[in-house]
């Protein structure tokens, strides 16, 4: 009863737009519930979030976050098509997780202290890093935020970016007017209609926007200031450590696979003749990979066969294989100059 009350308080607090402290007690294992249901409930979007959550011409979901969800589904249920994507708005995602409408939020969600503590979430390893940056009209002739004095800055309402941009400009002593918009498309339209001098958004989003700006991609400049470097991670309900382990090792396995050169193309070959003990362990040739998580030993093999390693997922949705052609940058493996790394597979 007390748990229920706490959860209600949380949802109500969200409806009112404030956060309340919550302590969620232990629940039955999420993985068991997913196996009984036969589907994994993932967060989608009420529309489209470029590169991460989109809908293709066949009315099917695609994107980086969708592929991460399909990877997790394959790991647990052995079939990527058993992922059930529930459309959610930004504001709705945390209450929906608490009320059990979704099992996990994989929705370009930044790991913040407030979300980790007050909101009662549990975050996985970060699988993506994106920083907040400013983009300005090229004809202003500026290169950094210091030159934005007296300007109008547009932001998307209710995101971490809104607060970040305000704090940053205050710190460097820049007078500005902040205008917030509910939707990314409104924000984009306002900026293109010259209603703002610059707008703050997530770096990858700015790059995507610039790439899709067919007419004049060079007419916009992304300012050099890095306001933040936000770790993007999967969010889960607190109190189910076993599920957190599952999601962490799903991400780890995707990274280890890339590190070791295991791809969707060569995974079968690698499994029949593993070149080293680490790969043998990863692909379930040597036991231990699944047993310790309470699932099949071959889950990582099936997952890589279905969606590929992290590099493949990135390339398909954001990188070279996608229209966005976004540099790996921070999102490369540590061995290639990025900040992604996996825990030790023993």
């Amino acid at each position: 009863m007390a748990t229920n009350f706490a959860k209600i308080a949380c949802a109500v607090a969200f409806a009112a737009g404030v956060a309340a402290p919550v302590t969620a007690a232990a629940k039955s294992s999420t993985v068991t519930a997913i196996e009984e249901r036969g589907t994994l409930l993932c967060s989608g979007h009420n529309g489209s979030y470029f590169g991460f959550v989109e809908v293709n011409d066949k009315n099917e979901w695609k994107g980086l976050d969708i592929d991460m969800c399909r990877a997790l589904t394959t790991a647990i249920l052995g079939d990527p098509d058993k992922a059930q994507i529930v459309p959610l708005s930004w504001a709705q995602r945390f209450p929906a997780l608490q009320s059990g409408d979704v099992d996990v939020i994989i929705k370009a969600t930044g790991w913040t202290m407030g979300r980790d503590t007050e909101v009662g979430l549990q975050f996985s390893l970060p699988y993506f890093f994106g920083g907040t940056q400013f983009m300005a009209h090229g004809d202003l002739g500026i290169t950094e935020a210091k030159e934005l004095d007296g300007g109008t800055i547009c932001v998307e309402a209710g995101t971490t970016i809104e607060r970040l941009a305000g704090n940053y400009l205050k710190t460097i002593g820049i007078e500005h007017t902040m205008v917030s918009y509910e939707k990314a498309s409104e924000l984009r339209a306002a900026y293109l209609a010259n209603r703002c001098d610059a707008f703050a958004a997530w770096g990858p989003f700015l790059a995507v926007l610039r790439a899709t700006e067919l007419e004049k991609p060079d007419a916009h400049i992304i300012l050099s200031d890095q306001l933040s470097n936000e770790p993007i991670a999967a969010a889960m309900r607190q109190g189910d450590e076993e599920f957190v382990d599952m999601v962490n090792w799903m991400i780890a396995a995707l990274l280890i696979a890339e590190e070791e050169g295991v791809t969707s193309a060569n995974v079968e070959e690698m499994a029949s003749n593993p070149p080293n003990p680490k790969i043998a362990r990863l692909l379930g040739v040597d036991p231990g990979m699944g047993e310790r998580l309470g699932i099949r030993d071959t889950w990582a093999k099936e997952m890589i066969a279905a969606v590929g390693n992290f590099g493949e997922i990135y390339d398909r949705n954001l990188g070279e294989g996608s229209p966005y052609k976004l540099e790996r940058g921070l999102n490369n493996l540590w061995s290639h100059g990025g900040v992604l790394y996996a825990p030790i597979l023993d």
Binding site: N4, K7, I8, A11, V12, F14, A15, G44, H45, N46, G47, S48, Y49, F50, E54, V55, N56, D57, K58, N59, E60, W61, Q84, I85, V86, P87, L88, S89, A91, Q92, P95, A96, Q98, S99, G100, D101, K183, S185, A189, V208, A211, T212, E213, L214, E215, S322, P323, Y324
Partner: protein, 362 residues
């Protein structure tokens, strides 16, 4: 003389028109200037519009490369993505089912608008058949087709379903609430007033958010049902509370003497209500009712906030990929046209009803 005015020749009419025009628009030089300027501006806008929407437009999905050059509308985005806008995330191969389901809903609404169907038994049969057909087709379980769960229902199909379900549930409920509020029993009257005032004091968004997110935490699992049913019930309750007030306005317009006259004639209270009072209440309440219905149609777009893929959400998704991102104006124009067609038909039907009911006044 009299004969000539009864049969005005074509040239006379033209002369009258020219005369009116001269008097109204070209009385003084400044009048003439304003008229010419505004007329010219309107012509220019109309021309730009036609040029953009039709003459310079690109129509076929394969011709999308031309879109950046012509400067006209790029209807290719509609050609390629209209199924997403109309049916949301509904599986592509099963679109024949959602098409039929949409037709079933439209047919149900159109038929219940015909006077021929205005009896309780006919309406109830019609609604059960119509909505049953929709749910059976969309879900697919009972007709041996692949099951499509409600979180994949979307687009126009979802908007139409939510709208008609809300109005058809909310209308009788509103009438009941209005009657309860007039009850002689203080408990019934008090409860109805409390409910109406409570719900009317909440924004629609809060009501829907509570129905979608908070209710599942309060109810046991087996009573929860699907999110879509909870939201429809919540929305219908909201509609009913407003509609109850519309009906109350209708009741207040009936002189007390009519109830007394009914009693004096030996009619039961039910007969007085159904034969004398209600027909007049409906007539008085008609303009505001049409207004409520139109507003409700537009308000269905709010469900986007609680993660429903209604026609507006799927429109957002339709231009939410790199290749279609620049053509959001075309998508919004298309969705605007859809809304316009439905709302215009609704208000025209309202006009027809008004004319029909005016017969009683003659």
């Amino acid at each position: 003389m009299a004969l000539a005015s009864e049969l005005p020749a074509q040239s006379d009419r033209w002369a009258t028109f020219a005369n009116t025009l001269r008097k109204r628009a070209f009385r003084s030089p400044s009048d003439s200037f304003t008229s010419v300027f505004i007329f010219g501006l309107m012509l220019y806008m109309a021309w730009t519009m036609i040029d953009w929407a039709i003459l310079s437009a690109v129509w076929r999905a394969e011709d999308v490369e031309n879109c950046a050059n012509t400067g006209g509308a790029c209807w290719s985005v509609i050609a390629a993505r209209h199924r997403l806008i109309l049916f949301g995330l509904y599986p592509f191969e099963e679109h024949w089912r959602s098409t039929l389901a949409c037709l079933a809903i439209v047919a149900t609404v159109v038929l219940s608008c015909l006077p021929r169907f205005w009896s309780t038994s006919r309406l109830i049969t019609l609604w059960i058949v119509g909505f049953g057909a929709y749910v059976v087709l969309m879900d697919g379980r009972l007709i041996g087709q692949p099951v499509v769960t409600t979180d994949q229902w979307g687009g126009l199909a979802l908007t139409l379903f939510m709208f008609s379900a809300v109005v058809l549930l909310g209308m009788p409920l509103g009438l009941l609430l209005a009657l309860a509020r007039r009850s002689k029993l203080p408990v019934v009257r008090g409860a109805a007033s409390l409910l109406i005032d409570f719900i009317r004091s909440l924004p629609l968004l809060t009501t829907l958010f509570a129905a979608a997110v908070v209710i599942p935490l309060l109810l046991p699992d087996w009573l929860n049902g699907d999110k879509i049913w909870r939201v429809i019930v919540g929305f219908a309750l909201f509609f009913a509370c407003y509609q109850a007030e519309v009906f109350r306005g209708g009741f207040q317009a009936i002189p007390k003497g009519q109830f007394e006259a009914g009693k004096a004639l030996g009619l039961t209270p039910f007969q007085t209500l159904s034969r004398i009072v209600m027909p007049q209440v409906f007539r008085h309440a008609l303009p505001s009712t049409i207004n409520m219905v139109v507003v409700t149609f537009k308000e269905t777009a709010i469900v986007i906030i609680i993660g429903f893929f209604d026609v507006l959400a799927s429109a957002n998704a339709a231009f939410g990929t790199v290749e279609w991102a620049p053509y959001y104006i075309e998508v919004y124009a298309f969705v605007g046209a859809i809304y316009w067609i439905f709302i215009f038909s609704l208000s025209q039907y309202g006009e027809y009803l008004k004319a029909r009911m005016a017969v009683a006044k003659r």
